[in-house]
Point group: C2
Chain length 353, copies 2
């Protein structure tokens, strides 16, 4: 817990003076003021986070964490549980959606096993193994993990970020893989936002009406059984969380402490963001919401965090796919600020009257 | 007019069989079916347009056309008229918004003078000079151009596309520059969509309330004076159009005839799309709407064309800036279709039940 407390103590406010400077720089470029909308907002926000006039986003890193979920036993997912580990191998081979979109955005993907059920064979150093356990317990029947395990998973996320920071990180995104993890994410979201389980639970990878009804019931009963304390992130994680979700909350804390913007992907990543927010509300200032997921309940979670999604492309894959697209948009905003000519340098007349 | 008729005769339907093949290819990739939403739609749409399973979008081209508008005399813009030519030089020097965003997307920008008021000094072959006249006439008082000039401008756009096609074009975007051209675009949109001038006229580069009221009045009076025929694109162009708007309609026709997807930028580009649609409704099938502009009236125009905007980033710059961002999204869709592993190749289990 010391590691978590130390990193939280380092999380600062945004640098408003730098944001003002960024705004001035943007206002003298050859375009009507504000006419590049959210691209300009992104540039300004990123400067405020980094505490300097950012010249480029050279190192773009997406953390994709995997973990298995005991709740899969309850038949809440359309895919079998072995898909979690199979997809980890797919990430390592570069064949998954996040690999393709990260490459398009010029970002690295860092894959980590926080709690996959099987013992993964990493052929390369590309897989970071920080396994806390071989999957969570079935939270329909017992706590998903111990409080100590929740702490360890968050700390593992902090460690992974700090290790990768040695290779440079100017902006980061988070993504996840874990069969049945929308069930955990919905439970977390219901506890923290106060929304009903029904309003916050969707079809995940694509379950039918009957399975959805069952999924809602499973979550409702689990919340009744465990009564998680909405103000205690570790209590929520231990009762209904997941290792990859806890680990990514650690990444958010570490990103904020290191003044690195963190792009939140979809539904499950936003549940992670809620956990980070409960641990330290200032983290929200470092977040950029990539997109509005198809998964119902996502907008309520973003609203709770006071975040506006950049994209709305009917995505519901996770892995960090939406984060990759948003990172490219963020980079385009930074390029606008730095590469466009000013009215003066280009000899263009300014607005009259 | 022969050139226009010949190109229209070449515009075909989309290839539905290829779109079905693309869908099948997408459905076997390692992700829940449809979970990459609009990226998958884009890939499929582009295959249907190109008439083949597209493997890459290598040559990405944005056509940014410039023209001046006599209606600027009426005080409808916040910027002085010389900005049109100044911005053309800025495009050629690579300092404008569209240059930065096109570079980010890996796209070329082709700049053309269709009707700038001054005689431009092109230091390089980068500027295509197809000047129909030194700006349009003030359509508050007389017709903007002759019917013959409207035809010449459309044909010039077709020629520019055909010339550039020799360097390869897999996807294209359109953008524009012309002080006071939102006034022309609003007039065109009001005629074609049937919306009231008030509902379709916005602040352009940023005029105040009083100037907006004046702009609306100018357009209303001009439409009353000229009574353009909503079914006759050449009549509309000649009475209230612009040379860059007409030229870009030619680009749309040529793109459709050559099976090239054409990404429509913002408000003025969408007015151009309306003109192309009146000339040949099939052109709409080749269009991708980049974004929803801040400019009011834009959504009504997109609705008329039955297009859904990909992005909503509060953009209102034009030039092709939104098109550049959307081209990158389209490319990411094509990459998803081609670079992701299939369930079989990656050894990932498929959905159960």
């Amino acid at each position: 817990m010391d590691k978590i407390n130390r990193i939280i103590a380092r999380i600062d406010d945004l640098d408003l003076a730098v944001m003002e400077k960024a705004q001035k720089k943007l206002d003298f470029l050859t375009k009507p003021q504000g006419s590049l909308g959210k691209l300009e907002d992104l540039a300004k926000h990123i400067c405020g986070i980094r505490g300097k006039l950012v010249l480029e986003l050279k190192n773009k890193v997406i953390f994709t964490f995997a973990g298995d979920h005991g709740i899969a036993e309850e038949g809440v997912s359309a895919f079998p549980q072995e898909v979690t580990s199979q997809m980890v191998y797919n990430f390592l081979a570069g064949g998954a959606g996040v690999n393709v979109l990260a490459k398009h955005a010029g970002a690295r993907v860092i894959v980590a096993d926080l709690g996959v059920k099987s013992r993964l064979k990493a052929k390369s150093k590309k897989l970071k193994i920080k396994k806390i356990d071989f999957g969570t317990k079935n939270f329909a029947k017992e706590k998903a993990m111990t409080r100590e395990q929740a702490v360890s998973a968050i700390e593992a996320g902090i460690e992974i970020f700090e290790e990768e920071r040695e290779n440079g990180i100017d902006i980061t995104g988070i993504g996840e893989m874990g069969i049945a993890n929308t069930t955990s994410a919905s439970a977390i979201a219901a506890v923290i936002t106060g929304e009903s389980v029904k309003n916050i639970t969707g079809r995940g990878t694509g379950i039918n009406d009957k399975a959805l009804e069952h999924k809602i019931k499973v979550i409702e009963q689990a919340l009744f059984l465990h009564q998680p304390d909405k103000k205690d992130a570790l209590d929520i994680l231990s009762k209904v969380g997941g290792y990859e979700i806890a680990g990514l909350a650690g990444v958010i804390l570490a990103a904020a402490a290191n003044k690195v913007p963190v792009v939140i992907d979809g539904f499950i990543s936003t549940a992670t963001a809620l956990i980070a927010y409960i641990l330290e509300p200032k983290t929200a200032r470092y977040m950029i919401a990539a997109h509005a997921s198809v998964e119902i309940g996502h907008r309520a979670m973003l609203k709770y965090l006071n975040l506006e999604p950049l994209l709305d492309l009917n995505l519901r894959l996770g892995e960090g796919t939406g984060a990759a697209l948003a990172i490219s948009l963020a980079e385009s905003g930074v390029k606008i600020m730095n590469e466009m000519a000013s009215f003066e340098s280009a000899g263009v007349s300014e607005k009259s009257g």
